[in-house]
């Protein structure tokens, strides 16, 4: 197999990947303007994009760093509320495009700050303790969003009454761009010294430390980046639904994201993308399945862990260009083989 792979040089790889992504986008938007993809399907596609960002960002900590935080929905909530409050405040006084861009950045920064605040104590602990402590923080975020107004004495998050009338600015194009940007950033980060440091912590923290890697720093960094991207997903969600309630960001949501990551394969970005897409579309497709969805999710968690702990994709990362290289290699390989046999 290896012999037949044609190595494609980097600039061409980028071109191929960019072309593939553009093609996917153009096909979907063409279908949608032709009316094949209705408004309803567009909504589902946006939801898929949001879930992909959530899964990919959680995968950074669970798959690559090897820790198990259970409060990912909390960061999403922080991003969603930051963005929602911002959009409500500036709506009308700023061009929409700029406001949306700023709201995404703001959501990422605020969620990242929360990730930092929570990461500092949480990452001093390992395994089960980290899981519990992040779960606790996730719940605290929810409780604070619910009750902060009565402490502040003015309406900020509107608590249980929901933050309403957020401008609905999330389009499929925006969500798609965010997915591409988030996946690109995580991918390039993982292929650098920063990414290798994160992986080395998952593999063996003590050895990593003895290689001169400041593990606490890199753990916190991964955690902050993961939280920031969850915040971006939250911002998209706020602009998608237009109304936010703390109840939407409970423990259940965190578990749903975890199921996507575990099923796709911890440490595989393409696995997260595929399973987030499938698991978000499935309940819409199989409406009759709704009753059994959570039972199926929990069973999936158990069965995947027992029979295929590496998930659907393992740590495999799909490379479109490698696939093309392999295909070219095969075809040319066959040709040379044919030539040889002809001779």
């Amino acid at each position: 197999m290896k012999k037949n792979t044609v190595h494609i040089p980097m600039p061409i790889r980028y071109l191929i990947n960019a072309a593939a992504i553009a093609a996917i986008y153009l096909i979907i938007s063409a279908l949608s303007s032709a009316g094949v993809i209705t408004n309803y399907y567009t909504k589902i596609l946006i939801l898929i994009c949001i879930n992909i960002i959530l899964a990919v960002s959680l995968n950074l900590v669970t798959g690559y760093l090897g820790q198990l935080p259970l409060g990912h929905a909390g960061f999403m909530a922080v991003g969603a509320y930051a963005s929602g409050i911002f959009m409500r405040a500036v709506s009308g006084s700023m061009p929409t495009g700029l406001a949306v861009f700023l709201s995404l950045i703001l959501a990422a920064i605020v969620a990242g700050i929360f990730g930092f605040i929570i990461g500092i104590p949480a990452l001093r602990l390992k395994g089960d303790y980290l899981a519990i402590i992040t779960l606790g923080f996730g719940e605290i975020i929810r409780v604070v969003l619910l009750n902060i107004d009565s402490v502040l004495g003015f309406n900020f998050t509107y608590g249980a009454a929901s933050l309403k009338n957020i401008p609905k600015t999330t389009t499929f194009t925006l969500a798609f761009i965010c997915v591409v940007v988030v996946c690109f950033l995580i991918h390039t980060m993982m292929k650098s010294r920063y990414g290798r440091a994160i992986l080395s912590i998952r593999e063996n923290e003590i050895a990593s430390e003895s290689c001169g890697i400041r593990t606490t720093y890199f753990k916190t960094m991964a955690f902050v980046v993961s939280a920031a991207f969850a915040g971006v997903a939250g911002s998209l969600y706020a602009g998608y639904l237009g109304i936010l309630n703390p109840a939407n960001f409970g423990f259940m949501k965190s578990i749903e994201i975890l199921v996507m990551v575990v099923l796709g394969g911890m440490g595989s970005m393409i696995g997260s993308v595929v399973s987030a897409a499938v698991l978000s579309a499935l309940p819409e497709v199989l409406r009759a399945f709704a009753d059994y969805r959570m039972v199926a999710y929990s069973l999936l968690l158990i069965l995947v862990m027992i029979f295929k702990p590496s998930g659907l994709m393992g740590t495999y990362d799909f490379s479109f260009t490698n696939l093309i290289g392999r295909l070219i290699g095969r075809i040319s390989g066959k040709r040379t083989a044919r030539k040889e046999s002809a001779e």
Partner: protein, 295 residues
Amino acid sequence: MSVLSMIVSQLINGLQSGSVYALIALGYSMVYGIIMLLNFAHGDIIMVGAYIVWVTMSVLGLPPAVGIIAAVAGCTLLGVIIEKVAYTPLRKSPRLSLLITAIGVSFFLQNIAQLIIGAGSKTMPAIVSGPNLYIGSVNLSFVAIVTIVVSLISMAILTILVQKTKMGKAMRAVSEDMGTAQLMGISVNKTISFTFAIGSALAGIGAVLYSCAYPQASPTMGSMLGLKAFVAAVLGGIGSIPGAMIGGFAIGILEAFVSAVGLSVWKDGVVFAILILVLLIKPTGIMGREIKEKV
């Protein structure tokens, strides 16, 4: 009501819920001590226990004694089955896999209960009833007295079991060093199953006491209860029996006083804040020992 009698009343409120926490915390602590697993499903075993009480007493109309026995036996069995089906195949796997499985089991129990019985809560008749006692102006409910006394007796029995019996010795040996214990001829599998059985039986007793005090069963009742009990176990020092008791009572009393001063909304937040503080300042808890990774 004077301030003093008010404080005593709140103390008793705290002791009542604290004794249930303590019973559940013991289960967490024992299981964690032996296989280093945070058994997320432990809280949900209590939920199943409460439903067993509901089925036997409300649906089948059987007397309380049958309900109590059925709940304890059912929980014990469920604990062992969970261990055999979900955890044993993963004993050699990374900790992360085991933890995810435990979360899976917890969610499975919750959702299957919701699917079969429905999301709404079910009420059950009073398991024990008796007159309220008055000491001065302090009002002592009968249920509170029963809860506190029964949990203290259970903990005393458990202590004897672990300290004096052969099986208890085996449990302590396995938690110390699984490999060596096996070489000494202790059946590790049997001991772990036994630990799950004991822990789950305690959860069964906890479920009955919980049902006495709060006669409702709902699919998600176990998750918060379980988490708080876990916090209690960590506070007391995981793996330590007296620690779990102290932790349970401490959390119960803390919650009572937080509510009493009007911060009930922040109760869960305070409990988790305590957890975070304990883990950062003294990760071994009040009674725990330090375990260091060998380099």
